[in-house]
Subunit: 403 residues, 2 copies
Amino acid sequence: MADAFKGNAVVGQSGGPTGVINASLVGVIEECRKHPEIGTLYGAVHAVAGMVKDDFIDLGKLSTETLETVAASPSSALGSSRDKPDAEYCRKIIEVFKKRKIRYFFYIGGNDSANTAHILNTVADETGYDIRSFHVPKTVDNDLLVTDHCPGYGTAAKFVACALMGDDLDNRALPGVKVDVIMGRHAGFLTAASALGKVREDDGPHLVYVPERPVSMDKFMSDVEGVYQKLGRCVIAVSEGICDSDRKTWAEKLAENAERDAHGNVQLSGTGALADFLAGQIKGKLKIKRVRADTFGYLQRSFAGLQSAVDVDEARRCGREAVKLATKHDNGSVAIKRTGNGKDYAVELFRTELKNVAEKTKSMPVEFINGADNGVTDAFVKYAMPLVGGLPKTEYLGTRPKV
Amino acid sequence: MADAFKGNAVVGQSGGPTGVINASLVGVIEECRKHPEIGTLYGAVHAVAGMVKDDFIDLGKLSTETLETVAASPSSALGSSRDKPDAEYCRKIIEVFKKRKIRYFFYIGGNDSANTAHILNTVADETGYDIRSFHVPKTVDNDLLVTDHCPGYGTAAKFVACALMGDDLDNRALPGVKVDVIMGRHAGFLTAASALGKVREDDGPHLVYVPERPVSMDKFMSDVEGVYQKLGRCVIAVSEGICDSDRKTWAEKLAENAERDAHGNVQLSGTGALADFLAGQIKGKLKIKRVRADTFGYLQRSFAGLQSAVDVDEARRCGREAVKLATKHDNGSVAIKRTGNGKDYAVELFRTELKNVAEKTKSMPVEFINGADNGVTDAFVKYAMPLVGGLPKTEYLGTRPKV
């Protein structure tokens, strides 16, 4: 290993936490330990914000037991940051790297994090300080380019699917209309996952709206009325990024129309506003008495004790792969290629250029959304089902033959 | 068994579903099969609403596999109802019972359901038609009298505890103030369960507000400011039934169009108004930038694949016990007595009078709420911990010693 690239390493976790971003962290840690050319592995406390102010913990001293508990825990164990470093910010980080003899940079995050890795690498080059800069993919939105799917999505999708399975059974028991608002401002993958638990012909969600397909309030109402007239109930999954026919999001329109009273008692721009607004519209316009609405919120990305085993495994492998690649390449982002599906589901990991993943995002492909713009296709289910690593089986009796 | 009380039986599930009300149903079914004096077991589709209009399925034909899947499924597999029968309603039910030769009545639900069992029994007596009327306890609120705790609570408490464990880790990763609004109109048991996953000294929730203790907006703000100044973050669990110093709930004050169900309960669940209001107040008055709020809503009572094993077991035993008791007594409600705690946790079941459980509800005992009215005591944790059947272990690294 005479010509191996030697130095210390740093790892950080950026952006919104997920249920398996810690599995990727553990993947980076365990692989670094296998490579003698990598010295101390520093954990950046609160991502780039920690790097820029020299705030680190030593990840070499963690026991196997601690690592396994970290891998099973939601959220970002090192702390996260929403900072988006520019060249100046990166120059400061490089100064810290020089002082710490850090030559390996591993950054777990979404497209912004890939961009950070890209900028940092460029700045390092300009400074004449050689580093190996690698991005490990993470999102609950599943909106990264190049990769077949993204670690973090499978676990969030499992949460949403289990939530809708339970919620649909609840709606069967006490029929009415139920609206569930699900995370995803631009990509509908997570909202689409609401349909993964459907087994019976009349299982909900009966309507699924994703940001990729604008929908007018008239069409929405007409869809809901149709299902309600047929089934006597209706479960609806709506992306928080749902937009009107003019491409403006419903949430934006609500915020614009928000009339705050003198006491500040009305918060139409809040988290639950879209759900409450839709429930109110359905009650008012369709004259349906029992209408309920929930906004799933942060539980979707950080719920303790609920991971997709497939997602955990892939997240950890992506962390390890980043380290392996960094011993051979200057920079890159880890991506997933699906090599088998269904019962033969399998993946391979590969390296792609940072610029291929940086900044841009992916939307749901056309073939995943139904023709009526209010549901998902079998192609989507085939794509997403292996990622949640199995769903519970449920049974409902109320529709059995009468005696 | 010459003098055994012979006849057919009916079972119904009433009120809001829970994660284990189906386990109680399966308990009733499997025990009925053991008693030759009990003939056909009818499942009432949508509870008393099904009984009054002669809408039944035959529960004798279900396979063991189906029963086990039912027991593992959230929500009420027979369908539920919010109807609150009066004497006239019960007289109609008795007519149906006579036609079907139904002599055993098993009703799984909360205090309203115990009351229904009580009224039905009284009406049957008056009519001269002998029945055995039994109530099987169910609530997520844990607010039934007599019983140590109530089936349904442990599973909902587990959901809330896991949610807060993840949410607190999320808040560590991206610090700020987080408000979580949790079910419970009058009793704070479920909101209190938010604290069960606390392990580290500075783990959230840092503030817990239950309906039993009125709190003014000024005190609330002062509490939040205190925690935020100390920790740089604050996670708050608030019951939907939280009330102001004048004993009016904050939600009531907010709700302009408070919808009331047949029991006169104001519908507080499924609305994000309270959460959004509190977040707005904190942002505005304390000038804290990152403030988020979630309302957990229906996921708390009907999430697929997340049950407390202890709760499932006890719910099923309560179902079986109701049938056993009905072969020996005229009427009653099944209650739980705790006979050991901690590692020696164990329970015994016993019969109590329907009138002891009917209508009234229980609040959190004084010793479960801290002196500052913003948290729970060790006594509460000792009480509630065995009921959730274990919680996941998590690890956070950001607070480790720096290098």
